[in-house]
Amino acid sequence: MNIETNHHIESPKEKQNRHKAMEAIKLLNTLREDFKAPIESMEYFYDLFERVHCKHESLHDDKTKIGTMCIQIPSEIIYALDGIPIRLCNGFYTDDEIGSDFMPQKACPLIKATVGHFASGNFSDKPDIVFSPTTCDQKTKAGSTIESFGYKFIDVDFPRTKESEASREYWRRSVKQFALELSKFQGKKLTKNNLKDTIKKIGYAQSLYNKLSDFRKNEIVPILGLDVFLITNAFFFDKIDNWIEATQKLINELEIRAKEKISVTGKSSPRIIYTGSPPIFPNYKIPQIIEESDGIIVADETCSSNRMFNDMVAVDEWNIYDMMDSISDKYLKACTCPIFTKNEDRIRRVVQLVKEYKADGVIYQAFAGCTVYEMEQRSVLEAMEKEGIPILYLESDYSPSQGGQLSTRVEAFIESLKTRRRNKK
């Protein structure tokens, strides 16, 4: 005596796909529907994420996919060797839960999610080889776990200091070694012309990002910080030419919006600089709370956004050696990751952003388990205090709950910024 319930039962892969699709669509619907004055050209990006994460479409079928684990692996070299760089830093809670079986309980959710993604082997664009710079402890150690799942995984030695000439030399050697390995893997030679072309192409993408950022300096802000995070996250995996075209189109629309003084915020919305652990799709928890609480993120200092685009490769002579060295320097010298022994650069960058973007305050988020960001909050908070810049420090993770407590704190901070601005006048 039983009711016939003969429905198909999902395989683990189908289940993971559904979970991720549900996470993704929730955020995409929020972005599409919940904010005022939506930007038409953003639909390209919403649709891109929906295709990849809800419909699980592959973007790069025919190409060799080169997985990267941090921003320090130079995309210029990957493109020059005819590969597609795919940054695998992951923001899905679904994968975080899968990764928990392989990582200590208190580990960083980003790394747990990344490991979980590899463990499942379920990629819309599966990497053929993975290069991982030895940045923070957890990422470095996660490499051997990922390798044990059967991936071709290569460590790229990254120094923990950037002050000395020795560290510079060390990293330049690592980058050369990386280029050599990849060249062997691809069976292709790195040529002067190819490298020059790709430096220029990525430089062009960076210049578009800078143009986009300029609009956020305006008193009337025409684009949400959330949308910008989505655009920069798309750079992780999108076809670069499509990304350039879509961003160009978006900039054209922003120009019109700027002229027509179309704003995505209220009149007194405090301007926020976002720093700390990177928002990676779909974990936009804190940015979403900020912008739903009438704050507007005008700039950020994170490795999933500003840090990817901020500094260009500066080449003196377009010969291969000079190009290689310039590329290496960009990824070391300009980097403000908290893994470095000293990191005055990061503080300088945040202060500079506050001034340039006329921000009212800074929100610093660290993932619970990301020790370096947790540690560095002390020096950043002190420095901001010295500069008289209000700052709020938050810890969060990938779990879908916890929203209530965090939003109360963010709301109170934003209200205090509003009061502060009023009293100034």
Binding site: I3, K15, R18, M22, I25
Partner: protein, 267 residues
């Protein structure tokens, strides 16, 4: 022939089963609990007895179970719904095979019960005192979507896109989340499907606390909802067994326990 009654007084419904000496189910009746548990339980029992063409004196032993069990003073014995559920499930699923785990979703609670090979309860987990992941939650959703609660299952399978997750754990907050989704013109099917998955995830967490094993039995009113059954199957990754009348498992179990208690007391 002697007969035995099991009365399960739940927050939403009163379920009564009558078995004979050989523990065969003779009949059952379900009615709403309403505001007067005792009165309605008595009326339902009387109605069932007359439906089966029996007399009150034919009922040798009554076992009460469920939240309202202590209100039914005429019972010869009262036992917790966990024990009754375990006994009922094993009897109801005798042809299906051995039951190792029971998922029960009631009107105001949900639980996972783990059994040993003799059918004894070895562990169980219940939800916190909150309507999240219970039948009440489905009622609230159905009311908001202007659907009958028993049609939710059909809507589940009509979903075209991605199920829309409802992340609030609280039934009251979830309701406002659903209002938001409706306000943005999302399909009812996608919402219903998302609601089922959010309940399913919650219940699977409970099951994991007692250990996931083969042989899962699902009962309680919400087990009539094929969409929810499918959602739980997907979340847990295996087929689950749903009895013909999932609502009466616990009262059936109580009646069976009545047979054993009666025999024990009178021999």
């Amino acid at each position: 022939m002697k007969y035995f009654a099991g009365i399960d007084i739940g927050s939403t419904a009163i379920k009564i089963s009558i078995v004979d000496e050989n523990k065969n189910l003779m009949g059952f009746k379900i009615s709403a609990s309403g505001s007067m548990f005792y009165k309605y339980a008595q009326e339902t029992l009387d109605a069932l007895i007359s439906e089966l063409k029996l007399n009150n004196s034919d009922i040798a032993y009554i076992v009460a179970t469920g939240y309202g069990r202590k209100l039914y003073k005429e019972a010869d014995e009262n036992i917790s719904e966990i024990t009754a559920n375990a006994t009922g499930a094993r009897a109801a699923a005798s042809e299906f095979g051995e039951i190792k785990t029971i998922i029960n979703i009631g009107g105001q609670d949900s639980k996972a019960i783990s059994l040993d090979s003799d059918g004894n309860v070895i562990n169980f987990a219940m939800n916190d005192r909150c309507a999240a992941g219970t039948g009440k939650f489905l009622d609230v959703v159905a009311l908001k979507l202007e659907l009958e609660v028993d049609t939710l299952g059909e809507y589940h399978f009509k979903t075209q896109g991605t199920p829309l997750s409802v992340s609030s754990t609280c039934a009251v907050f979830a309701e406002s989340e659903i209002i938001g989704l409706l306000g943005n013109n999302h399909s009812v099917a996608d919402i219903v499907c998302g609601v089922h998955y959010s309940i399913a995830k919650r219940i699977v967490k409970l099951v994991k606390r007692v250990g996931v094993k083969e042989g899962i039995y699902f009962d309680g009113g919400p087990a009539l909802n094929a969409g929810l059954v499918n959602a739980i199957e997907n979340e847990i990754g295996q087929k689950i067994f749903v009895p013909q009348n999932p609502q009466i498992t616990t009262s059936f179990g109580a009646a069976i326990i009545g047979v054993d208690s009666y025999n024990y007391e009178n021999n």
